[in-house]
Subunit: 368 residues, 2 copies
C-alpha cells in the first residue's frame, strides 16, 4: 500500500476568489474615476487577434504578445461593447458574491434581460465573457461560469470542498465507482492528500469504466480522469492542479485518430483561443496512446481515415507543436497506413487486455 | 425536517442477476439438447417488426403483440444470426460471472475478435444484443451492457452498492454537490431510505446545477435527476425504481420544443424500439414544463421553430400518446405561436427566478 502524501501546495479557494473580486473592483473603479473626472471611461486589455497569439516554446503553450486594445467611451463604436463589459463585470461580481455558478448559455439569457444593452446573440455575450477573462487575466471558471459538459475522476485523492453548504467536507475520489463528476464543486475543491503517483487521462467513457473495474487505478497507483472527448476547461485545470500541486506526472490515452491526438495536445499546450489564460495547460503531460503504430503492432480493428480526418491530419502536421519526436513519427505513420482505430478496439482480445497487457507495457516504455 | 422512510421493496441485485443467468442457461440448454437429439437447434423470440408493436393504453406504454419468430439452424439464412446469438449469450454470461460492464461499441469489437462469426458492422452486433433482450425478456443493462452516456442524480436518498469491491457500502446521494454520476454502480445500487417525497427530472445540466445550488432539492423535498438530453435507459430505469420502490411521484422539466416534449414522453411511456422491455417506463410521471404557453405567460426569450422542429411537431401530433389533455393543448399552442424556448430562458429574470417562482408555482398547479 503506497504511502499517503500531503499536498504541499494547498491553495485556499478564498484567496483566488478575493484576487478576482479585487481585480473586478479595480476595473470598475477605473471606469468610475474617469467618469467622475469627466473623462471618457476606458478599459485596456491584451489583443487576442491572430497576429498577437504566439506559441511560446519555452513555456510550451500559446501566449499573447504585447499588443493591447483600448475600449473607450470616446469612440462611438466602442460604447456598446464597453457598456456590455461593465455589465459583465457586475454579473461576475454577483456570481462570486452569491456563490452561484452558471454557464455561457445562461449568461446569454441574463444578457437578454439586461435593459438597453442590446445583445444580439450568444456569440456577443460569449465574446464579452472572453474579454473579461483577458481584462482580469483569469478563466471564466474563476468567476463561476462553467461548461455544461461534465467529465469524471476516480482515484485515491482526498479532496475538501469549498462551495457553499459543503465547506470543509471531505470526499475520497474512490468514493463512487461510476466516477466522481467534475463540476463547480470538485473544480474548486482543495486536494488534501493522495497515495497515487500518476494521472491517467482517458478519452472514452467505456475505457474509463474498464480502468476502474479492472482496478487499473490501484495496480498503477493512478488517478483516472475521463475527459469525455475534448476535456472541458475545468477538467484541464484540474489535471494541471494534480500535476503542479501534487506533483503527479500525467499520461493521456485517446483514440488513434487526429481528433484523439488533439485531445492530448490541448491538455499539454492549450488552444490558441485560450492563449490569454495560462492556468489550463500541463506542458509535461505525455501522450501514451493509442498510437498509429499500435494499429499495426496489435493488429487492431481499424477503419479508413476519412477525407475529413486527412484534412485535419494535414492541418496538424503543419502545427509547430506536432513537428518533432513521437508526434511527428506517428503522424507520418497515419499517412502511411491511412487508418484509424478506437480505444475500444483492444476488446478484440477480451475486455481486460487493454489494462493487463497494453497499458502495463506502454507505461513501462514511457518510464512511468 | 421530513422523516426518513425506508424502502419497502428492496430488491437485492443478486436475485435479478440469478434470474438472468438462469434464463441464459435455459436457452443454452435448449440449444444443446436439440443438438444432442440430432435436431436443428432453434431459439424462439417475440417479433419486433412494426406490425407487432402496439401501444397498450391500459399499461400506458408500447408492448409487443403475440407474434413470434423462430431462428432455426435448419434454415441456412438463420445459421449466422443463430450462431451470433449463442456467442452473444456466452458474452452475457461472462459479463455477469466476472461482474464486468461494457458498452455496445465494446461488444462490437469483441465480436470482431470472435472467430468465424463474421460480424460485418456494429449494427449487426447491436441487433444481436437486442435479440438477446427479447429472448431473455430483460434489458441489456441487466447483463451489464451499459450506455456510454452518463446522467446524474442528487437528493436525500441512501443507496447501497452491489458492485464488486463496494458490496454493502452506502452513499447518500447528496454526498457530491456536482451530482452523483449514474453509471453501472449506481444503476444496480439498492435504495435504502429517503426523506424526499418527489422526483424532478431535468433536461439541462445548467438547470440541474441551479436546482442543487438554490437548494430546490431541500425546499421541495425532491430527488433531482439530470437526464442530459434524452435519458439513457439506465436512468429511465432508475426513475422507474424511485417511483415504484420508494413511491415517489415524478415531475419532468425540459425545453419548450418538440424534443423536450419527447424527452418527457419517453420517460413516461418508453419508445417503440424498446417495446420488448417493460421495466423502463414510469406511466404516471408528469410533464411539468417548460410549456409552450409559458413562453407567452412569462414573456420568455424564444426563437422561431425551425423546419425540422415543425416536422417533428407534426409527427408528434399524430402519435396517439400526444392526443389528449395538456399535451394536445400545448402542441396546438406551439403551432399557434411558432416559437420555442429553452429552460435557461428564465435567467432573463435572474438566476434564481426558475426555482423561487416558476418551479414553486408549477408544482402547486400540479398538486405536488
Amino acid at each position: 500500500m503506497p504511502k499517503k502524501r500531503k499536498n504541499p501546495q494547498r491553495q485556499p479557494k478564498r484567496a483566488s476568489k478575493q484576487v478576482v473580486l479585487s481585480s473586478i473592483k479595480q476595473e470598475a473603479k477605473g471606469v468610475l474615476d474617469e467618469v467622475e473626472k469627466r473623462e471618457f471611461p476606458r478599459v485596456v486589455m491584451p489583443s487576442r487577434t491572430t497576429d498577437n497569439i504566439v506559441y511560446d516554446d519555452k513555456v510550451g503553450h500559446y501566449v499573447l504578445g504585447g499588443r493591447k486594445v483600448v475600449r473607450s467611451a470616446g469612440n462611438i463604436r466602442h460604447l456598446k461593447p464597453l457598456s456590455q463589459m461593465v455589465w459583465g463585470l457586475s454579473v461576475a461580481r454577483d456570481l462570486l458574491d452569491t456563490e452561484k455558478t452558471t454557464t455561457l448559455r445562461d449568461v446569454y439569457y441574463m444578457a437578454e434581460g439586461a435593459e438597453g444593452l442590446s445583445f444580439e446573440d450568444q456569440s456577443e455575450s460569449d465574446r464579452i465573457i472572453t474579454d473579461i477573462e483577458s481584462v482580469l487575466s483569469c478563466s471564466r471558471e474563476d468567476f463561476n461560469v462553467y461548461p455544461e459538459e461534465r467529465s469524471a475522476i476516480f482515484g485515491d485523492v482526498l479532496a475538501e470542498y469549498t462551495v457553499k453548504g459543503y465547506e470543509g467536507k471531505r470526499i475520497n475520489l474512490t468514493m463512487h465507482p461510476d466516477g466522481v463528476m467534475v463540476g463547480p464543486a470538485l473544480a474548486t475543491a482543495e486536494f488534501i492528500e493522495t497515495s497515487a503517483d500518476k494521472v491517467i487521462a482517458i478519452e472514452k467513457g467505456a475505457m474509463f469504466s474498464r480502468f476502474v473495474e479492472d482496478q487499473a487505478w490501484k495496480r498503477f497507483h493512478a488517478v483516472l480522469i475521463h475527459t469525455a472527448g475534448q476535456a472541458p476547461r475545468s477538467t484541464r485545470k484540474l489535471i494541471r492542479r494534480l500535476n503542479t500541486e501534487l506533483g503527479l506526472p500525467v499520461y493521456m490515452f485517446a483514440d488513434a485518430d487526429p481528433w484523439g491526438l488533439h485531445i492530448c495536445q490541448v491538455i499539454i499546450s492549450g488552444s490558441a483561443n485560450a492563449a490569454h489564460i495560462s492556468n489550463l495547460v500541463t506542458p509535461k503531460a505525455k501522450w501514451a496512446g493509442v498510437y498509429a503504430t499500435d494499429i499495426t503492432k496489435y493488429d487492431l480493428p481499424s477503419t479508413k481515415l476519412t477525407e475529413m480526418d486527412l484534412r485535419r491530419l494535414k492541418e496538424i502536421k503543419r502545427d509547430v507543436r506536432y513537428q518533432r519526436g513521437r508526434w511527428k513519427q506517428e503522424i507520418d505513420y497515419f499517412f502511411k497506413i491511412g487508418k484509424k482505430a478506437e480505444q475500444e478496439a483492444f476488446s478484440k482480445y477480451g475486455l481486460s487486455f487493454i489494462v493487463d497487457k497494453y497499458l502495463k507495457k506502454r507505461l513501462d516504455e514511457l518510464g512511468a
